[in-house]
């Protein structure tokens, strides 16, 4: 008798979320199966990797990941164009880290100018991120959401402390929204409920359960993502059917494994390879757990993950 592979059927699906406009628009989500289980159902889109750029030069990034952008990262517009034209980025994530009060403390007006300049220079979809300062993000993200009106960006991140203003601005200007909670599946669900109770379309949310790097609690992120996916697919939980975000680069490139010199730790192997592998491994793990949108930094790590996706789809 011929072997028949066992197949699961699921009652729910993940909402497809499209970002950007015109022929450069991309979609993530839409599947009705666990990640890459194309043999069980439909997987209409592959995970989307957005390359991270910043509004200020990445002085705090380790050498390994700063080097590929040395010639362009002094200016967000050149940086964005480099990623689109040379690295063939499918999406960009502009992190307005310079608006943080403990950093350059750039104003919402400064942020608006950067966003407008970048949007004018590139055609690929843009994810616009604040500095993760709940209070400052409120003013910054409201201003940039308006500046990017109708460009179908993703605005982020809305958290429990500031979701009302950010979700309202995102809704008024036709953007998608990242809802972030801190590694707690129940609070993640709760935030999605609260945002949809404001009248925000549940199919325009991206859920960020909070990333963590390999070796620094990735198992928590993995487990929360996996459980969110299972709730979406097996329990048909409409509050958990949003695509998941893995904000990988930011978490990987601040750990010591990505920057400790070989001279100090020869047993850890080559510094450059180590950092790249660390980012690629972290991204790959979260993708397997369910992340449909990844924000990454190193071009070679991104290439590795794209290759992996090619093999898995």
């Amino acid at each position: 008798m011929a072997f028949t592979a066992p197949k699961e059927t699921y009652s729910g699906k993940v909402y497809p979320v499209t970002i950007g406009t015109g022929d450069k628009a991309v979609t993530c989500g839409g599947e009705n199966v666990l990640p890459f289980h194309s043999f069980e159902g439909i997987t209409p889109s592959r995970p989307v990797i957005a390359i991270e750029i910043q509004d200020v030069p990445p002085a705090d990034w380790p050498d390994t990941v700063r080097k590929p952008y040395d010639a362009v990262s002094g200016d967000p517009v050149s940086w964005a164009k480099f990623c689109q034209d040379e690295l063939k980025a499918k999406a960009l994530a502009l992190r307005l880290v310079g608006t943080h009060p403990d950093r350059e403390n750039r104003s919402p007006a400064d942020a608006v100018k950067t966003v407008k300049d970048v949007l004018a220079a590139v055609q690929v979809p843009l994810i616009i991120l604040g500095s993760n300062h709940a209070e400052k993000d409120t003013s910054v993200l409201v201003a940039v959401a308006e500046a990017a009106k109708d460009k179908n960006c993703i605005i982020g991140k809305a958290q429990e402390a500031n979701y009302k203003t950010i979700a309202a601005a995102s809704m008024a200007n036709n953007h998608k929204l990242i809802a972030m909670s801190e590694l707690d599946i129940n609070l993640s669900k709760q935030l999605n409920i609260l945002i949809t109770q404001m009248g925000f379309d549940k199919e325009k949310i991206i859920t960020d359960p909070m990333c963590s790097a390999l070796g620094y609690g990735i198992e928590y992120t993995y487990s929360v993502m996996e459980r969110i996916r299972l709730a979406a697919l097996t329990q048909n939980d409409v509050t958990m059917q949003q695509p998941l975000l893995g904000d990988v680069g930011m978490y990987v490139w601040k750990i010591k494994e990505a920057s400790a010199p070989e001279a100090d730790l020869p047993q850890w192997g080559a510094l450059e390879e180590r950092g790249i592998a660390w980012e690629a491994e972290t991204a790959a793990a979260l993708m397997i757990a369910g992340a449909g949108l990844l924000i990454m930094r190193h071009p070679r790590a991104i290439k590795e993950v794209e290759n992996l996706i090619d093999e898995l789809v």
């Binding site: 129940n186 669900k189 709760q190 409920i193 609260l194 109770q197």
Partner: protein
């Protein structure tokens, strides 16, 4: 169903202040109310009580029993404080109860007190390490506690097995493990083992309006599983008893006239059974 009135706990600000000031008024008022509402035992939770625990427990036991003709459940990790309390406990109102022994060697000597003073003893099914993962692990620990009780000479009918209720807001899966554990505990002896839960911990950390709803449904589901006693709010549990038949009807798939109530019951039972993911606003979805 035996209700151990839960309200005299050091965690409550009013109770803590009364304990510190040795102000009998609030303690006796709360104890009396719980007695009138149907509690059969009054819990006296004085916390770890490292300093002055003996004196405090004696004061609590006598203060409660001055106005209420009920036994007291002595609830502290301080061994000496429990023994001091047992010495002044008025057994005319019933057998005192001790909260608790467990599978942690430090908690074994509690069983000696249980034998020496002829008490009921709560056996919390946790060990020295982490929390039990599921119902099976709880049952395994329960078996060890039962074996130890027999070694020490505590009759099994004096032992109340407690499966350890965890917060649904952070440990949702444990709600159904606790229900299953109660069923398993009962089957571990003939006549069935007595069981007890710290009921309202299920809703700890949940919005205020949600707490009684979760408490009552969980209580009814535990009753169906064969639970024999609960450390709980007697007033709330009396309300739960009134709602028991409609909750059971909805759980059995019957339609009831009050559609809003029916939805509330269905959603709450689904959350407790882990069929939908808990969120503070689960009733609004």
């Amino acid at each position: 169903m035996l209700i151990i009135g839960e309200k005299l706990s050091i965690i409550a600000k009013r109770v803590r202040e009364a304990m510190m000031k040795k102000d009998k008024g609030p303690i006796q008022e709360i104890a009396t109310r719980q007695w009138k509402e149907g509690s059969g035992v009054i819990d006296a939770n004085i916390g770890p009580a490292e300093d002055g625990g003996e004196e405090l427990m004696q004061w609590m036991v006598t203060t409660i029993q001055e106005v209420v003709p009920l036994p007291v459940c002595l609830d502290t990790t301080n061994f000496q404080a429990i023994e001091a309390g047992l010495k002044v406990h008025n057994n005319q109102w019933g057998k005192p109860m001790i909260n608790s022994t467990s599978n942690d060697p430090e908690r074994f000597p509690i069983l000696e007190l249980g034998v020496k003073y002829n008490c009921d003893v709560i056996g919390l099914t946790v060990g020295k390490g982490g929390l039990p993962a599921d119902a099976e692990e709880r049952a395994h620990i329960a078996a060890e506690i039962m074996g130890r009780a027999m070694e020490y000479g505590l009759p099994l009918e004096n032992l109340y097995l407690d499966p350890l209720v965890l917060q649904i807001a952070t440990s949702q899966d444990h709600a159904r493990h606790v229900i299953n554990a109660v069923k398993m505990f009962r089957e571990m002896n003939d006549p069935p083992m007595k069981t007890i839960v710290g009921l309202s911990n299920i809703s700890n950390g949940c919005p205020k309006t949600l707490r009684p709803i979760l408490n009552k449904h969980f209580f009814v589901m535990l009753l169906d599983a064969g639970l024999t006693s609960a450390i709980a709010d007697a007033h709330e549990m009396a309300e739960a008893m009134k709602e028991r038949s409609i909750i059971s009807d909805v759980m059995a798939g019957k339609e009831i006239a009050d559609k809003q109530k029916m939805t509330e019951i269905r959603k709450t039972v689904d959350v407790i059974m882990g069929r939908t993911l808990y969120a503070h606003s689960y009733l609004e979805m």
